[in-house]
Each structure stands twice: as structure tokens, then as C-alpha cells.
């Protein structure tokens, strides 16, 4: 089962539509999407189950999947946020873990098949707020946490 879910990553266009759909679905509930309550606990569980199985999600709490080819950048050993490092091997494998395909080479290929959000790949993403680790990315998105990070990053 988890194997099948994992393979979903090779349907990046389907996934980006699913992302857009769930965002729209959740937005009417915005007033309830606040950190700290039962709603967050529920969403954390949901995110762990779904994104965990599909993307190997590490619950960084500031989801950027739609900006990174629907591929989780936290699974890169250097936790690169803005594209592959200069150590990628000629066979496309990772510098740090030679058995593994570089997360970012896959992310790049997938982003090319994402007409809706593919262009996001070229945006310089802000640094991580490590405090959000383990919290719900959906809640953080709707409660303005993510916007705050983006603002401090802007010049």
C-alpha cells in the first residue's frame, strides 16, 4: 500500500491539483484553523498519515511541496531548500547517500510536469523556521505563520 502511495509522486500534475483542491476545501474553515487546539491535533495526524506515506514527509511545518516539484526537500540530507547542491553524482544519485537518487533531480523533473505551480521552483524560498517542526503545515499556512516567514525574508 505505502509503495503504491509513494508512486503517486510520479503523478505531479495530479498532486498539484489535489493540493489546490484541498486548499480551497479548507479555506472556509479558516477561523478554526488555529494552532494549539484539537483541530491542529487532527490535522497533524492527517498530515503524518497522508504526506508521510506519499512524500516521506518530515513534518517541518512549513510545507513547500508545490514549490519543489511535489517532492519533499526535507528528505535531502542537506535539507537544501532551493535546488540541488553541487555534489550530485553523474548517475543522478546523492552525494551524501550514494544509494539514493538525489531528491532534487527528481523534484526538478517533476516540476517540469506541473503546469499550475511548476514555475514556483524558480522562486528563492525562505529559510526554515525550526520552531514549526512537528506542527501542522496547513494550520501554519492559514494562521499566517508562513506569511510571517516570507515577510522577514523579503528585502
Amino acid at each position: 500500500m505505502s509503495h503504491i502511495l509513494h508512486r503517486l509522486q510520479d503523478r505531479p500534475h495530479f498532486l498539484e491539483l489535489a493540493y489546490r483542491g484541498s486548499r480551497r476545501l479548507l479555506s472556509p474553515f479558516k477561523p478554526w484553523l488555529k494552532p494549539g487546539g484539537w483541530m491542529e491535533r487532527l490535522l497533524i495526524g492527517g498530515e503524518e498519515l497522508s504526506k508521510g506515506a506519499i512524500f516521506g514527509c518530515r513534518m517541518c511545518g512549513q510545507c513547500v511541496l508545490h514549490s519543489t516539484g511535489m517532492t519533499c526537500p526535507m528528505t535531502c540530507p542537506k535539507e537544501m531548500r532551493n535546488g540541488p547542491c553541487g555534489g550530485v553524482r553523474l548517475d543522478g544519485h546523492c552525494e551524501v547517500i550514494p544509494e539514493m537518487l538525489c531528491v532534487w533531480t527528481q523534484a526538478w523533473e517533476r516540476s517540469k510536469r506541473m503546469p499550475t505551480y511548476g514555475g514556483e521552483f524558480l522562486r528563492v524560498l525562505p529559510t526554515l523556521d525550526r520552531r514549526l517542526s512537528g506542527s501542522s503545515a496547513w494550520i501554519n499556512d492559514f494562521s499566517g505563520e508562513i506569511e510571517n516567514i516570507e515577510t522577514s525574508w523579503r528585502e
Binding site: G83, C85, T127, R130
Partner: protein, 322 residues
């Protein structure tokens, strides 16, 4: 007073620039740095100091860069994200400015697996892009990432690395574009042994107009022997040595390989120089710094422009010139 960059002046004047890499040092005696720097300074416009090169402990990048500045040389301090979090990185950046270091090269850094202490913890709190933007915020807005004010804002010429020689090839020019957007003003590339690949990369870079927005210096260096070429290919992350180069080294007896390596390096510099949009070379002669002069001379890049700068500390300078 915050330093200004001589490297920037050379590049802006339109001269084809030469930078060189100081070999990592494991000594508490500054003389080893001064000695090597004197050799390199004659043939280059700026000298890079490595930050835990190859994921090994060495005399630190800030330490070496500060020694170079003291002696009147022009340092490019490499700063990587592997060993420090954002608190330490920003402190290091500010210290560099205070110690007279006018150029900073922001890197992500090799993983700890590459060095002699693979048991260490990797940090990677920021990546190169995050570090670049952080430095630019410190310089431009006079504040730390947290928003807290910096009394006197630092001034550096900001650089980043690029590796056109590894996959995904079609993304490499776009990654360069992102680095420019994050703050890079100059680029030093990974070792180039594959000129056709560099030409392809540069064609795209020119199409995107990136060569107008950033100074690109191409990494070059002499291979000491066939054995060391094979070792580098195997062990140094991101270094690509094509078959054709291996063949040329194989084609000569082992006592002639060093000369062959030197010749290859000189030829690569000459070819690179012909590629539009390239503004200089960065010479990395690992444990062969005595050859940098000869390489630069044979490639026709001497003499270097003289842009004088007084040594920062007079006492120290007297000592150095002994």
C-alpha cells in the same frame, strides 16, 4: 571601517581576473599562511580560504582570511553551512568585515561523509541560498535575520559557487539565476575539466542574460598524476574528470604526468578565456601551489594589475616582509 573589495575593482575594470586557492593548513603558526600567500599573491588578484575543506578540520577560513588581510593580501573567505547554524554564521560574517575581509563566498558545503570525521553532526541550518540572502540583508538593511539592528553595516562583495558539470544540467543555469536573486555578485565554479559542457552551460547563461548580472570565474587546476585524478573523481564531491583527460594522463609515463596535468590546465584556461561571458579563472592547485605562477604565466595572464592596499596592521606587516 568596513573593507572594500579589490577583486570587485579588478572585475569591474574589465580585466580577466585570476583568483587562487590557499591550501588548507594545519598549523598554529601564521607563517605557513603568510608564506603560501606570498607565492600566490604575485600571480592572482585574490586568494580563497577554504572552510573545513573536504569536511576536515583545518585552520579556519575566517582565521586564514584575517591573516591574509593583515598582510595586505585580498582574501575571499569561503563560508559553508555544514558546521554552523544561522547564529554562528551571522557572527562569522560580521567578524569577517571587522577583520578586513572584503569578499565572502557563500557555500552549502560537502557532507561530513567526505572527510575524516564522518561521525560529526552536520548542521545545514541554512543552505547557500539562505546564507547569501542573509548576508545581503545584513549588508543592505543593516540588520540580522531576526530584524535586530547592526550598528555599522558590513560591506562585502558577495559570491557563490556553481557546478555546471553535474546533473540536472538543464537546471544549473536556473540555479545560477536563483543565486543571483539571492545575492550573488560573483561566481566561482567547481573544477572545469569538460570545456564543451561549460560552453553549453554558458550559451544558456548568455541567453538568459545572466552573464551581465554576475561575474563568472571558472575553477581550474592541475592534476598531479593519473592516480590523483582517479582519486579526486572518486572522493571529491562534484568533481567530474572526463575520459578524454584520463586518457591523456594515461598516455604518458608516470614521471611525465605532472607536466601533462599542467599542460592540460593551461589549455583549459586558454579555451575558457575564449568563451563569451567568462570574466576570470579560479586556480585550485591542491598541494601544488608552487605551480600556480607557471600556470598563470603560460596561460598568458601575467602581469596581474597592481591595486595597492596597505597592510592592515603595520607591526604585523614588518614581520611578514622579513
Amino acid at each position: 571601517m568596513s573593507p572594500s573589495s579589490r577583486l570587485e575593482s579588478v572585475l569591474r575594470s574589465g580585466d580577466f581576473a585570476v583568483t587562487a586557492e590557499l591550501n588548507p593548513r594545519d598549523s598554529a603558526d601564521p607563517q605557513v599562511v603568510y608564506q603560501q600567500a606570498r607565492i600566490l599573491a604575485e600571480f592572482s588578484d585574490a586568494i580563497n580560504t577554504g572552510d573545513g575543506s573536504g569536511a576536515n578540520s583545518h585552520l579556519s577560513s575566517l582565521g586564514m582570511a584575517a591573516l591574509l588581510a593583515r598582510a595586505g593580501h585580498e582574501p575571499v573567505m569561503q563560508l559553508g553551512c555544514r558546521d554552523r547554524n544561522r547564529i554562528a554564521l551571522q557572527g562569522e560574517l560580521l567578524a569577517a568585515a571587522a577583520l578586513g575581509v572584503g569578499n565572502v563566498l557563500c557555500l552549502t558545503g560537502d557532507g561530513v561523509q567526505a572527510g575524516d570525521q564522518p561521525d560529526a553532526k552536520s548542521v545545514f541550518d541554512l543552505d547557500s541560498m539562505g546564507l547569501l540572502r542573509t548576508a545581503r540583508i545584513m549588508r543592505g538593511q543593516g540588520r540580522f535575520l531576526s530584524g535586530r539592528k547592526i550598528e555599522i553595516a558590513p560591506r562585502w562583495f558577495l559570491g557563490a559557487a556553481s557546478n555546471p558539470f553535474v546533473p540536472p544540467y538543464d537546471f544549473r543555469p536556473l540555479r545560477l539565476q536563483k543565486k543571483i536573486e539571492a545575492g550573488a555578485e560573483f561566481i566561482q565554479t567547481q573544477y572545469c575539466f569538460d570545456v564543451p559542457r561549460l560552453r553549453q552551460f554558458m550559451a544558456r547563461v548568455r541567453d538568459m542574460g545572466l552573464d551581465e548580472r554576475v561575474f563568472i570565474l571558472v575553477g581550474v587546476g592541475p592534476l598531479r598524476s593519473l592516480k590523483s585524478a582517479l582519486w579526486m573523481r572518486e572522493h571529491v564531491p562534484g568533481v567530474v574528470i572526463p575520459e578524454s583527460i584520463e586518457k591523456r594522463l594515461r598516455g604518458v609515463p608516470s614521471d611525465k604526468q605532472q607536466e601533462q596535468g599542467l599542460q592540460i590546465c593551461v589549455e583549459i584556461i586558454q579555451q575558457v578565456r575564449e568563451i563569451p561571458g567568462i570574466k576570470g579563472v579560479h586556480v585550485m592547485a591542491y598541494r601544488q601551489e608552487e605551480w600556480v605562477g607557471e600556470i598563470v604565466e603560460r596561460a598568458g595572464l601575467l602581469p596581474r594589475p597592481k591595486l595597492a592596499r596597505e597592510p592592515l596592521v603595520e607591526e604585523e606587516a614588518k614581520h611578514v616582509s622579513l
